[in-house]
Symmetry: C2
Subunit: 346 residues, 2 copies
């Protein structure tokens, strides 16, 4: 009989609330014969305040034993900026070699977009997750003085770039439009940028059926708002991917709907699924958080574990639910979770 052994990190702020809805829908969608085991990990701001720990080795080890991780949100204004991000969230992405940070963007019917004309948006960003400016390389000299020098080193390897580029070509090949856009800034960041472009062009030769394209990151932001329908699959660096996927979320109905998967395709380590949004401490506990992004992240989790039918069932339920939203009635976090749980079960 089948089973899923899931690690759950609710984290901070609205993390707890949205993860509860994610689990509710997961339970509702899973076939009877699949045994779901969950273990909650107390990590985040409260833990740090209590113990000074962000992610101790013992817990990192324990997390390795799960089939996948579901994470709510990390971060609180009471914790210095970077402590939890680097010490917990990025530590997980790096330790578990999550080199594919997968972020689909789709403008669902009936959802609000700031763009006039409601363009037809349906693309996926394949963001590199273990290199680039996110490595934590760099430092500060004469910190806090007028002579301070602070550096940040973007580290990029052919190994790291090629594997994410290949993954993106595979995804593009599997989609109807078969189009892949590389986004970088190779007219300024010539070392990393040229390596990305050269590897991209070399791998492209193996995928004649995929149409390719290159855009500088600044130009890409223009097309995100003026012609988002031109994108199918985008592959890009860790930092550019961070920026572009928030913008993508904004133009496709908001950060309340944006799902993501931090994927280790080799299966050596468990993959981690999380909404793109943050912990939103201002609305925590108010029932105002939209759990849809987390629920869509659960769909990505199911797809990753081979439950394609169930993943699609969740995505269809979200589409139907969104189509039914009238833009006037507001529902609580719990009510949205309930509605989606009912839809996926039936």
């Amino acid at each position: 009989s089948r089973s899923i052994n899931l690690a759950v990190i609710p984290g901070d702020g609205i993390g707890q609330e949205v993860v509860a809805q994610g689990l509710k829908v997961l339970n509702a969608v899973l076939p009877q014969d699949v045994k779901l085991e969950t273990k909650e990990y107390d990590l985040g701001a409260q833990r740090w305040h209590r113990t000074g720990e962000t992610l101790p080795d013992a817990e990192l080890e324990a997390l390795k034993g799960h089939d996948a991780l579901l994470l709510g949100a990390i971060g609180d204004p009471s914790v210095p900026s970077g402590v939890l991000e680097r010490g917990l969230l990025l530590k997980l992405r790096f330790a578990f070699d999550h080199y594919i940070n997968l972020r689909p963007s789709k403008l669902f019917p009936n959802t609000a977009t700031p763009l006039a004309g409601r363009p037809d948006i349906d693309f996926v960003v394949v963001r590199e997750g273990t290199e680039g400016p996110y490595t934590g390389n760099g430092g500060s000299l004469r910190t806090g003085t007028e002579h301070e020098v602070a550096t940040e080193v973007s580290v990029n390897t052919a190994y790291g770039v090629e594997r994410v580029v290949r993954d993106a070509f595979e995804r593009a090949k599997a989609r109807p439009r078969k189009k892949l856009t590389l986004v970088h800034k190779n007219n300024v960041l010539v070392y990393a940028g040229h390596m990305w472009k050269n590897i991209f062009d070399r791998v492209a030769a193996e995928y004649p059926e995929v149409t390719t394209d290159y855009l500088h990151v600044d130009a890409a932001t223009i097309f995100f708002v003026t012609q988002p329908e031109r994108f199918d699959v985008i592959v890009t660096d860790n930092l550019f991917g961070d920026i572009l996927t928030d913008l993508a979320a904004a133009v496709t109905g908001g950060i309340g709907l944006a799902a993501s998967g931090n994927i280790n395709p080799t299966g050596t380590f468990p993959s981690m699924f999380e909404p793109v949004h943050g912990s939103a401490p201002d609305i925590a506990g108010s029932g105002k958080a939209d759990p849809t992004a987390t629920i869509l992240s659960v769909a990505l989790l199911l797809r990753h574990l081979g439950y394609e039918t169930e993943a699609v069932r969740i995505e269809d339920a979200v589409s139907a639910d969104l189509a039914g939203r009238d833009g006037v009635t507001t529902r609580t976090t719990d009510e949205i979770g309930d509605a989606l749980a009912v839809r996926v079960a039936s």
Copy 2:
């Protein structure tokens, strides 16, 4: 009697055409007693093809002798990416210590914006121009092999950050709303990000009348499309500024209207004014390029040289001209230049 000794670098593609209109309007707006001298520099793709040079020392020296530089656009697909950008455009910005890259964003009446609801946009981005990921530090090891490692080093100094932050506070103080937003990514780029934030907070104490705000760059892109009216002055790093100002141009009527100034406020070196757009080789020579961005850059140039009345006259002319555009009639580059020259003269 007063005089302006201007260096003109038309550059590539549409650069030539738009610069011609900029000069036309400059001539029309200047009072009779101001003597305008211009010297054209043949720099860009053609020069590089002919001689292999991007910006020889002799020309860099000669350029120093001017009161200001007017640049059209740099770049051509026939030249490897980065050669002209690093060897000419960025070389000028760095050699002339253009530490303020000033990019105003305003949604003029009657212009197209992809945003529904036409928000009231009027902000200015003060982008750092001489540091950050643009320094060209970094390198590539085992280039072209499967073991390649490519690095890009963002270099940030307290000296460089403080001067741009101070400039931004002065600009915010002089504006009606008196609001300044720092944009960085200090939850990930902790060395540079914390230095920026600490300096920003320290300088803020000297400007109690200015309201301050901090946003991560990813979140900033969301607000650019959902709430652009919240911004007044933004100060940010070289790369984030590059990305944000293209997005800003996109939401405020397009890159055809976005002006910029690369400013050395100390006056040690001449400042350089250029449209944010590129050389657009696809429409070069067709008369389709909108010279407005260049003409607005001429307004920034005049303001920098102390011709405030004339700067405002150009900006008002552009507003009036845009208000008169019907969105159906298309005019050539030349016709728009003529119309604006007539307006500023009368």
